[in-house]
């Protein structure tokens, strides 16, 4: 016998339980508010009460210097943006190619596989600064007419060379994380190795590694400023120039704020994507 679901009335027990839950939740919210206020207030008192606070405020949080530095720093940031966008595109392409080389199985491609492994080992080992100096100052030193001379180009090339190695490893991890049964199913349909890679493995691999991939891109965004070591004026260098003239550090803070603003969209997007994928995985029962 099936009861009529629309005739359900909550029992007294249920009402009691809900009332208790409400009370507990109200109390926890109150506690959270109070503890946050206490900590916030304590921090404020400690910082502003510090003997050097006025001096630090004058030196780092000076509105006058923030305003005068802002246009210079912003103009430098445009360079960072240009480099970021170009570098991100090429890093994804080169990283994918290297990952495919490393996960290929055909004996013909053995030397390519070897080269790819050496590449990732070398460029994950070399500090980016070293690559910048070697590529940015060393290559033009060879005086070959076809080697570009501009700091921005050489700097972007250095970024691409280094970050491709990391991105290649991330993509490779994604490829190897795809269930081997998927590859088997693809081959069983008659798809070639390349077709299976393209239609079955890669789409799944890239979805799996989107969070760490986006993480690497956020990192790349910040490192884009390192090309300043080759002479180009990016946001941080512009801030440094302003600071050197006035002996006031506020321009650096301006640069920092702009960088954070730049990376927030990407980090929030990564979080949203991760949450969406987690939900899907729970549904599929991968947990």
């Amino acid at each position: 016998m099936i009861r009529d679901p629309s005739a359900y009335e909550p029992s007294a027990l249920r009402l009691q339980r809900e009332e208790s839950k409400r009370r507990v939740s109200y109390r926890s919210t109150l506690i959270a508010l109070v503890s946050t206020s206490i900590i916030g207030l304590t921090l404020a008192v400690v910082v502003t009460g510090a003997p050097g606070f006025a001096l630090v405020r004058q030196s780092f949080f000076n509105l006058h210097y923030a305003q005068s530095a802002f246009p210079h720093v912003l103009s430098g940031l445009l360079l960072n943006l240009r480099v970021m966008v170009m570098a991100e595109i090429f890093v994804l392409i080169l990283g994918l190619l290297i990952a495919l080389a490393r996960t290929s199985r055909s004996p013909v491609l053995y030397p390519v596989r070897l080269l790819a492994t050496m590449y990732t080992d070398i460029f994950r080992g070399l500090p980016l600064l070293l690559v910048l100096l070697l590529v940015g100052l060393g290559l033009p030193g060879l005086q070959l007419s076809w080697i570009p001379n501009s700091a921005v180009t050489l700097g972007t090339i250095s970024l691409v060379l280094t970050y491709s190695a990391y991105v290649a490893e991330v993509i490779r991890a994604g490829i190897e994380a795809v269930n081997p049964a998927q590859r088997m199913a693809g081959r069983a349909l008659g798809l070639t190795q390349a077709q299976t890679q393209r239609h079955v493995i890669l789409p799944q691999a890239l979805r799996k590694v989107t969070p760490p991939l986006l993480n690497d891109l956020v990192s790349l965004q910040k490192d884009s400023g390192l090309i300043s070591v080759l002479g180009a004026i990016d946001a941080i260098r512009a801030a440094g120039i302003e600071t050197a003239q006035s002996f006031n550090f506020t321009p650096y803070l301006v640069a920092g704020a702009l960088f954070v603003a730049l990376t927030i969209p990407l980090t929030r997007f990564t979080d949203w994507l991760t949450r969406k994928q987690d939900r899907a995985r729970v549904q599929q029962g991968e947990w």
């Binding site: 049964a181 088997m184 798809l191 239609h199 899907a280 599929q284």
Partner: protein, 249 residues
């Protein structure tokens, strides 16, 4: 003598030191349905995977429609495109919807134009009551629905032979019937099939011949009523007893 669709001669396969298939020989004629039974590890799955060249064999020969596909230098992709395979764990592509899963092989392996491939796929889906699932993703389908889609994915390219490896073993009992019903229909249309399964009742219904594998060898073969009612060997008798005790016979 009619040309056999599949002819296996003295097939030998080991994994490292484990000998999994010992000099197995059998044939499969066109439109014939053979059912493989046996305990886990008896070599049923391995045999199927050797036939569609997912595993390399150590010794012996395999002929598909008269062609030696175990020869060195054979185009394995082309061979596999003529053989349909369905697995215990469905293995549908999770990032593609049902329609895309089914049209992938026709479009990229058999060069069927997209519109035509979609038409054919929809016709199959409609025929087997899955038309409204066409644009859904596999994770929203029940196990039975997924496996039926997997079977349709394998047959849409009209393969010469269909290999089914324990395709109902991972399903809820309630969902097994719909899958078995689909397979029966395929048999009715003349599909050549080799099926590994634990479902004895189903074996009785569809099999033209049953092969009992034990430790990598074919111990007995014959018509289902004969083998399953009157086993000749003690090994088969034990196997059937075990199934009966587990309530599966």
């Amino acid at each position: 003598m009619t040309e056999q669709m599949i002819d296996i001669r003295d097939l030998r396969k080991s994994y490292g030191n484990d000998l999994v298939l010992k000099e197995v020989s059998t044939t499969l004629a066109e439109h014939e349905v053979k059912v493989l039974i046996g305990a886990s590890g008896s070599g049923k799955s391995t045999l199927l995977r050797c036939i569609n060249l997912l595993e390399a064999i150590d010794d012996g020969q395999i002929f598909l429609d008269g062609v030696d596909i175990s020869e060195v230098g054979v185009d394995a992709d082309s061979v596999r495109s003529q053989i349909g395979s369905v697995f215990q764990s469905f293995n549908l592509f999770p990032h593609l919807n049902v329609l895309q899963n089914i049209t992938l092989a026709p479009r990229y392996v058999h060069s069927v134009p997209k519109a035509e491939a979609i038409d054919e796929a929809m016709r199959l889906l409609d025929r087997f009551g899955l038309k409204d699932k066409a644009d859904q993703y596999p994770d929203l389908l029940s196990g039975g629905q997924q496996q039926r889609v997997a079977i349709l994915r394998a047959v849409v390219t009209r393969p010469k032979v269909l290999l089914l490896d324990e395709v109902t073993s991972a399903l809820d009992p309630i969902l097994i019937a719909e899958v078995l019903s689909l397979i029966s229909e395929l048999k009715g249309e003349g599909m050549t099939m080799m099926i590994a399964t634990h479902e004895m009742g189903f074996a009785k219904r569809v099999a033209d011949q049953v092969l009992f594998l034990h430790k990598g060898e074919i111990f007995e073969s014959g018509r289902p009523e004969q083998i399953l009612e009157n086993p000749n060997t003690s090994e088969l008798q034990e196997f059937l007893n075990a199934l009966r005790d587990a309530g599966r016979l």
